[in-house]
Symmetry: C2
Subunit: 289 residues, 2 copies
């Protein structure tokens, strides 16, 4: 293995891991090496461009913390995340479609009772969400667990207010358990369009590509129930100006719903609102495992 040139190096690199114990690792790395090498050959990557790439990845690594995942942003904005979501979520007709996970999920968000307030102080216009979880047979899925999370009126998630990877309060995120009939409801704030964090290397990449960093307004859901496939999805707000240019390529028509505006007055929770408020209804259809 000497005197490798642009034509034979790929085979040599792959031959070096011919004895890797795990066949899947071998498959993955063989394919990865082939495609990365093909890229470099196809564009005749210069040494300066290579080094810019090294510096870019270094910056992506250095800005990444527990609460800022720039590598996920990179994967999201290059469409890789949505591609992986599509590859792994081929569901029967009628199931609710999946979309990207995004970088803002947090493990262990607080349990909120049905009817409770998920916002927990997050700024925004009041919104009452109601929905149900059913199977493809139309039967209710009892007691499904729903994790919800969203940005506030300023377009930010709670974790984006955390400094230095430190603690943050859970705001506009929570975990609910649907009732025995698969129904749930909670209070929150209206979802707003937001730009993904773009003050770092991924933001500079988008700028160089002539792309904007905006995502259409959406509410994230992660729904689990015994006997059903886990569902990671959003509900998107109808009418949003970014529905056709989502920076992370996640929009699906079947996930768009109306946030209905109501004048000040009686609210679905039996109270009253001095300001206009919104309601959202959505039915999730899970795929039997």
């Amino acid at each position: 293995m000497r005197n490798l040139d642009e034509d034979n190096i790929t085979r040599a690199v792959i031959a070096m891991h011919a004895d890797a114990k795990d066949a899947r690792v071998r498959t993955l790395m063989t394919s990865l090496v082939q495609h990365i090498h093909s890229f470099a050959r196809e564009v005749e990557l210069t040494e300066e461009e290579w080094f810019k790439g090294i510096r870019f990845l270094t910056e992506v690594g250095h800005i990444t913390t527990d609460v800022r995942q720039e590598f996920i942003l990179l994967s999201d904005t290059l469409g890789l995340s949505m591609l992986v979501t599509a590859l792994n979520n081929k569901k029967p007709q009628g199931c609710t479609e999946a979309t990207v996970f995004g970088p803002f999920h947090v493990e262990g968000s607080p349990l909120v009772p049905l009817g409770g307030d998920v916002a927990n102080g997050a700024e925004g216009e009041p919104c009452f969400v109601r929905g149900s979880v059913i199977g493809t047979d139309g039967q209710p899925v009892p007691n499904a667990e729903l994790q919800v999370w969203q940005a506030d009126a300023a377009g930010k998630y709670d974790v984006q207010y955390a400094r230095d990877g430190g603690d943050h309060e859970h705001r506009a995120r929570g975990t609910l358990i649907a009732d025995a009939q698969g129904n749930f409801h909670f209070k929150t704030i209206r979802a707003e369009a937001y730009p993904i964090p773009h003050d770092g290397p991924v933001g500079r990449m988008l700028e160089a590509l002539g792309r904007h960093p905006w995502r259409p307004a959406h509410l994230h859901f992660l729904i689990t129930a015994p006997g059903f496939d886990r569902l990671i999805t959003h509900v998107f707000r109808n009418g949003d100006r970014y529905l056709d240019s989502d920076a992370v390529f996640g929009v699906r028509s079947s996930l768009i719903a109306d946030w209905i505006e109501h004048p000040p007055g009686a609210t679905p929770d039996g109270g009253t609102s001095d300001v206009p408020f919104y309601t959202l209804d959505f039915r999730f259809v899970l795929n039997p495992a």
Copy 2:
């Protein structure tokens, strides 16, 4: 741009940067997106594997400092660095071949006078290096600048002894200026085989691939002279057991030379050595710019 699936997402991502100002950026990113997506499709990348990849890159980013460049190690061990070197250093027959830069170069190494001691306290067996720099026409290249760097007897570069990205003394590295006839000579220590840093994510990757982290013994050179292409290369030590399995794929037959062993006694610098010592002679042929 809604309802993207595994078949049409690649075109949608590329279409988003159709208006990027810089045509080369457009070319690079179009190709990169195509090849990364092809990889994910070809292996049907699972969501768990994707997340392992995100975590791997995050670790690569977090271990990277001013003196530890894990992204370069990653590029080197996947053969990308040598591929880029090959693509960008197609030289006329007779020129000294280039090889990988590696992650251990340091800007501004100390100027060492001809005949001086580059080792500067680094542990190792004494070695006297002598050589010349000529052009493809056989004429000497006067006053070429040569940066040299190498590992010590323990297989480590000076920067690997630095802690917390802090200062380090320059050892076994220096900058020399050849004389008007293109000749140079200096004292150093014998180059030794060494494992690339493998206590981090790249080391774990090599282990999963069933690969060793060793590089055959070599001495790095970066040679510049007005009117000639910059040459980044190594001289490899003949007889090294890793010449055919270099962890970074850099070995070229034309760069292998003998480190000749001499018994204790008179040394080329007019002194004497109580221990065996080595000599290395090498002639570099630069490509006119």
